[in-house]
């Protein structure tokens, strides 16, 4: 790891000022993405701005009809939160399946979304549930937030402060793990929302998380896995590597979407 200067601001405003003042500074919270890439010398930020001691940034609460999760809420907090379990159990279950218990004690929702790893779990939930990413500067809709591999709408001095999830009628997340890395080879989050249905896929797309509109339209008419029969997901634009071909991933998207719909329906 290359040398860096460590900063521990007490407020989001101080953190943002540090980002403005120090070019190429990086934000750190749980560190479970950034520290590994710094060890590999794939990243060498001269300044680290640690958000983990900013009070109130990890709050989980209901606000009106939305579940609001603070940026530094850890995966373990989301997984075990009674508020999340009551409001969107599929989200609690997703958080409880990230990494392993020790990773979940450190990794944060804001960190996962800021990094936008193409195999991360949270982006699928944010896109399918139509969540809003709130930063120190503005509010971003999920559709405008994700912009491809490890790429988001965040500016260099912009910090995620919370994520607002509107409550779905039903939802479920099913992932198929790579047997070695345990990351999602494919993960599908299905949300039946008051006005529509959304199907978001992680792990498979060469441009990161994406929606399967053909599935969404069919499921909007009738929310049953049966309506997906005969609709194929094209392999075009999907990842192909030693872990699975694009065709295999396309097949998995169909299988996992059916399972997710069945799981969402079984939760009543």
């Amino acid at each position: 790891m290359y040398e860096f200067k460590y900063h521990r601001p007490g407020t989001v405003r101080q953190a943002a000022n540090l980002l403005v003042k120090n070019e190429d500074a990086k934000v750190i919270a749980g560190g479970h993405t950034l520290i590994p890439v710094m060890k590999q010398r794939l990243a060498s930020p001269p300044h680290l701005v640690d958000l983990s001691h900013i009070e109130g940034l990890d709050t989980i609460e209901m606000k009106g009809r939305s579940l609001v999760i603070g940026a530094t809420a850890k995966h373990a907090d989301v997984a075990t939160s009674a508020v999340v379990g009551e409001a969107i159990p599929a989200l609690a279950s997703l958080a409880g399946g990230i990494g392993d218990p020790a990773v979940r004690h450190k990794g944060t929702i804001g960190g996962s979304l800021a990094n936008n790893d193409p195999t991360a779990d949270y982006p699928a939930a944010v896109l399918a549930l139509g969540a809003t990413i709130v930063t120190n500067k503005r509010r971003l809709k999920a559709e405008e937030y994700f912009q491809g591999l490890f790429t988001t709408a965040l500016e260099a001095d912009e910090i995620i402060t919370k994520v607002m999830f509107p409550l779905p009628k039903k939802a479920a997340y099913i992932k198929f793990r790579n047997q070695a890395s345990r990351y999602a080879l494919v993960g599908v989050f299905v949300a039946r929302r008051p006005s529509d249905v959304r199907v978001a896929v992680t792990g498979a797309g060469s441009e990161g998380v994406f929606r399967v509109t053909a599935f969404e339209e069919a499921l909007k008419k009738r929310f049953s896995s049966k309506v997906l029969d005969g609709i194929d997901v094209p392999a075009e634009g999907l990842n192909s590597d030693i872990h699975g071909s694009a065709e295999y991933r396309a097949h998995l998207i169909g299988v996992l979407t059916r399972r997710a719909v069945d799981a969402a329906n079984a939760k009543e």
Partner: protein, 161 residues
């Protein structure tokens, strides 16, 4: 350099560290607490698991400066020198939950964390799921799982948490 103050195994510690020092490096090289191991160094194997404010974390993926003001517990902090072993350590000894022993400190710190979160009656399935982040290349896990189930029960009757 950055000045850090933290509690390690109940003792206050103050030191000047290079900010890039990993918590596991700080424990091993500055404090000579070499019970915490570095296995994969990529947050997968769990040999480096310690408790940070009572929760299991991978000390190879935590900066020492991030532990400033917090409390760390390592395998050395489970039982006093010369005193009887912690019930989870004793269970690993009794049930032969190790062969080479390299993964054992991390296994035991994770096991105690499981008990804190899931209680004293642990079925095999729960233990195996919870061991997702700890790798052992010797035992095939059978005796580790048996040790943790027994250790969890023994902890219910012990003063050591």
């Amino acid at each position: 350099m950055a000045k850090i103050s933290l509690i390690v195994n109940g003792n206050p510690v103050t030191a000047n560290v290079d900010p890039r020092t990993l918590l596991v490096q700080f424990l091993r090289e500055n404090l000579h607490l070499t019970g915490t191991h570095v296995g994969c160094d990529t947050s997968q194997c769990g040999a480096c698991v310690v408790h940070l404010d009572g929760k299991a974390v991978k000390s190879c993926t935590t900066l020492a400066v991030m532990a400033d003001g917090h409390e760390v517990r390592t395998i050395e902090g489970l039982a006093a020198d010369g005193a009887p072993l912690h019930p989870m350590q004793e269970a690993f000894r009794e049930h032969h939950g190790l062969q080479c022993g390299f993964c054992t400190p991390g296994m035991i710190m994770t096991a105690i964390d499981i008990v804190h979160r899931k209680g004293h009656e642990l079925d095999d399935h729960t233990i195996r799921e919870e061991l997702e982040g700890n790798l052992c290349r010797c035992t095939g896990y059978q005796n580790i799982v048996a040790s943790i189930a027994a250790g969890a029960k023994a902890m219910a009757k012990s003063d050591l948490a």
